[in-house]
């Protein structure tokens, strides 16, 4: 079945992974900017990273017939460095008209600190100013509930935000409801150990229905599984769900969400 992975970090993956994903039905993906596993030293590192995301990765993906889109920001972990963050935010507009940029992301919180919150709000301001969509990272483990609520407070406190153009990622059982009932899109991340299994993601689809709900692998340089969406497809099939339902979550929903960005081009359906 054809599918889209709306959150995957391909700069950390091999070309063999692209080939495997293509064989498994991945036709498009979006790659939010995130943490490299170490803190970068200067704004120039980010400029090079954004060149990689906007120029190099789309070519690598295209070799396997996969459309590569991206989101730009300085991630929540490095946002603790406020002065560097402001330099990066000031530089981002240089890249916003690149043909594969869908918006600002993945912005969010990590340890739910004051500095992270300050930089989150400055990113939101940038997105509003440039009419960009937003992709949001919510914290992990014991920080997720608190951080997600803080993020929703900041977004809902800003009347300029169009909630249908915001995707809140890494939702789990205790955060999904607040995200969906306030009109945002929600993404479930299938990730070994720390996040959500295909079974629990299938449970959330059964509980909340497919509206404004997506799934992603968040495959990155850590222990993660870039082919996690096919695992979810298998689980939904095993439970007897229709092709139409499955396609809604793994294909139609990402297309509907991405289509709100003028850079997103219709995919050729085969």
């Amino acid at each position: 079945m054809e599918y889209i992975d709306p959150h995957i970090h391909m700069v950390s993956r091999t070309t063999d992974d692209y080939e495997t994903l293509a064989r498994m039905g991945c036709v498009a993906m979006s790659e939010p900017a995130f943490w490299a596993g170490f803190d970068r030293g200067s704004v120039e590192s980010f400029r090079d990273y954004f060149r990689q995301l906007t120029q190099f990765e789309p070519k690598r993906a295209a070799q396997f017939g996969i459309k590569h889109y991206t989101w730009l920001c300085i991630n929540a972990k490095e946002a603790e460095n406020v002065s560097l963050s402001r330099e990066v935010i000031a530089m981002i507009p240089e890249f916003l008209s690149a043909p594969n940029v869908l918006g600002i992301g993945e912005i969010g919180l990590n340890k739910n600190t004051k500095n992270e919150s300050t930089i989150f709000l400055e990113h939101v301001d940038l997105a509003v100013k440039y009419n960009q969509q937003i992709l949001i990272h919510t914290p992990h483990l014991e920080d997720k509930y608190q951080g997600t609520r803080m993020i929703l407070d900041m977004l809902m406190g800003d009347s300029r935000i169009d909630r249908s153009r915001v995707l809140v990622d890494h939702v789990e059982e205790h955060t999904i409801q607040a995200v969906l009932e306030n009109g945002f899109w929600a993404g479930m991340t299938l990730y070994p150990v720390t996040k959500c299994t295909p079974q629990r993601a299938a449970d959330m689809i059964e509980r909340y229905g497919p509206e404004r709900l997506m799934a992603n692998s968040a495959g990155d340089w850590g222990p993660s599984k870039p082919t996690a969406i096919p695992d979810l497809i298998m689980e939904l099939k095993r439970r007897g769900h229709s092709r139409e339902l499955i396609r809604r979550v793994v294909y139609d929903n990402p297309v509907a969400f991405f289509s709100q960005s003028r850079q997103f081009l219709p995919l050729e359906n085969s």
Binding site: L121, D143, K144, Y145, Q146, D203, G209, P210, S242
Partner: protein
């Protein structure tokens, strides 16, 4: 957006038949983990994480619904609705 495609609903009997072995194996994993702690030198008894695990296991056995969500909340830091004032952020 089009109307929602219909969700297929499995019966409780079907779910049990499909997933009994999986649940059985997870209970065994937990049981073996607790045995491992017991056999090991030293004691983790007083650690906060042990209390969290014990409370999590109680949620599995009680009569209330929403177990996954309740285990998640048990393992979460508290949210303070007045956080923005405390941080001086608006």
């Amino acid at each position: 957006m089009s109307t929602d495609p219909k969700l297929h609903r499995r019966s409780a009997e079907e779910i049990l038949a499909d997933e009994f072995l999986q649940a059985r194996s997870r209970i065994l994993d937990l049981a073996a983990f607790l045995d491992r702690l017991e056999r090991a030198p030293g004691s983790a008894e007083q650690e906060a994480r042990m209390r969290l695990l014990a409370e999590g296991l109680e949620i599995l056995c009680d009569d209330e619904v929403g177990k996954a969500q309740r285990v998640q909340l048990l393992m979460s830091r508290d949210y303070d609705p007045a956080w923005q004032t405390k941080y001086g952020i608006h």
